[in-house]
């Protein structure tokens, strides 16, 4: 048996892929690092785990520090532990993704402590990332691609009231393919988890669309019946 990991020079951290959806674009929050290693590189937000917090709490804290948001949909999806992934020691990183609605004043506040700035960046225009963060991102994107086919996570990316076209947009961008409008609507409505708000979109220069909201109560009653795309 190999020698066991000494209790120093190793630790664990959380890295977060914060997905945001804004006007038809899928973005993630990146920070520009202010410290070595990888000073001045873009990176996923992350931090070491505090002694008195669980992994979930730590992920929620990181998100909160950057966005001031709480109660956001987050999920742990993989742990990265290659020996040399961090140049300064053995750091195992537990990856989370979060899904959130952009387009208000949800912009992040730069963290003077460990980041020069933070920006929402379109996932199709990502810069080179520090550490193994490209790999972490790739796996996160792959994860939500799978998940959106079976779980009602698309709604986390939209405002509470949304149109069917906006919803379709989320699916198209995440799945990276065009969907048929009629079939999409038929199927979505057939699940019976969308509540017609009998209310129209406002401020658009064309025919206003009907607004819907996701009916969590109804969805919970369908227990076990997975949505299948």
């Amino acid at each position: 048996m190999k020698e066991v990991l000494p209790h120093f020079n190793s630790t664990f951290s959380i890295d977060c892929v914060l997905f945001g959806f804004d006007e038809g674009e899928l973005k993630i929050l990146l920070i520009e690092r202010n410290e070595e290693p990888f000073k001045d590189w873009w990176a996923l937000p992350g931090n070491l785990v505090a002694m008195d917090e669980s992994l979930d709490q730590s992920a929620a804290r990181i998100l909160h520090e950057l966005t001031s948001l709480s109660n956001v949909y987050m999920e742990q999806y993989y742990t990265f532990g290659d020996v040399n992934r961090h140049p300064q020691g053995r750091v195992v990183s537990i990856a989370y993704y979060a899904l959130l609605r952009l387009g208000g004043d949800k912009s992040p506040k730069p963290l003077s402590t460990y980041a020069k700035q933070a920006h929402w960046i379109n996932v199709k225009e990502l810069p080179k990332l520090a550490f193994d963060h490209q790999q972490i991102f790739d796996k996160g994107l792959e994860k939500i691609k799978r998940r959106i086919k079976h779980q009602p996570i698309a709604f986390e990316l939209l405002p509470e009231k949304f149109t069917l076209t906006q919803l379709q947009n989320v699916y198209e961008i995440i799945l990276n393919k065009k969907l048929d409008k009629r079939n999409f609507r038929k199927k979505m409505l057939s699940f019976g988890v969308l509540k017609d708000l009998e209310e129209k979109q406002k401020g658009v220069s064309f025919r206003a669309a009907t607004l819907y909201k996701f009916d969590k109560r109804r969805y919970a009653k369908l227990f076990g019946k997975e949505i299948s795309f």
Copy 2:
């Protein structure tokens, strides 16, 4: 921001749910602990991660030490990091499952160092487990339930040559429901990834069944087309 985790009194470990399939029963390998904490309790095999090994390597090592097997199908599926999950300090545990064929002389060799004994135990008759290992097991079982519907993992639990009934058995036990024989065969064969070995079962006291093997090469060519159960 909270105080960052000190680089001592914390570390990370691997815990493994080793699934084995044997004569219609799904089992996992449990060890009886020989050390505090939870001395004399049953637990999942696991260990601290060595300094010079990746997480995957560490999981493979644990499996190898117990079974002498290599090149086994293993997958990381979740990381458990509640603050108090380990009574002696902060230990974050990365969970893996493995799938393997039992029924030869694959029985584990007890590890005198940290276990009194190790046994294959039917998943329906598990004893009370140490730490949060029940939770780790539950999540692992749930994971393979999902995975078997889309990925060809059932074959990992069977000998190289198997009958369709044996294969159906694996699905029935993992999914925990009866399947229709004709529909199962039709569907399985329709994927085109089973190779008819033109060879019959031997030593049975009834009509011998045709043996098949999983054709990995064919499967690889179907790239992207997921099996769907």
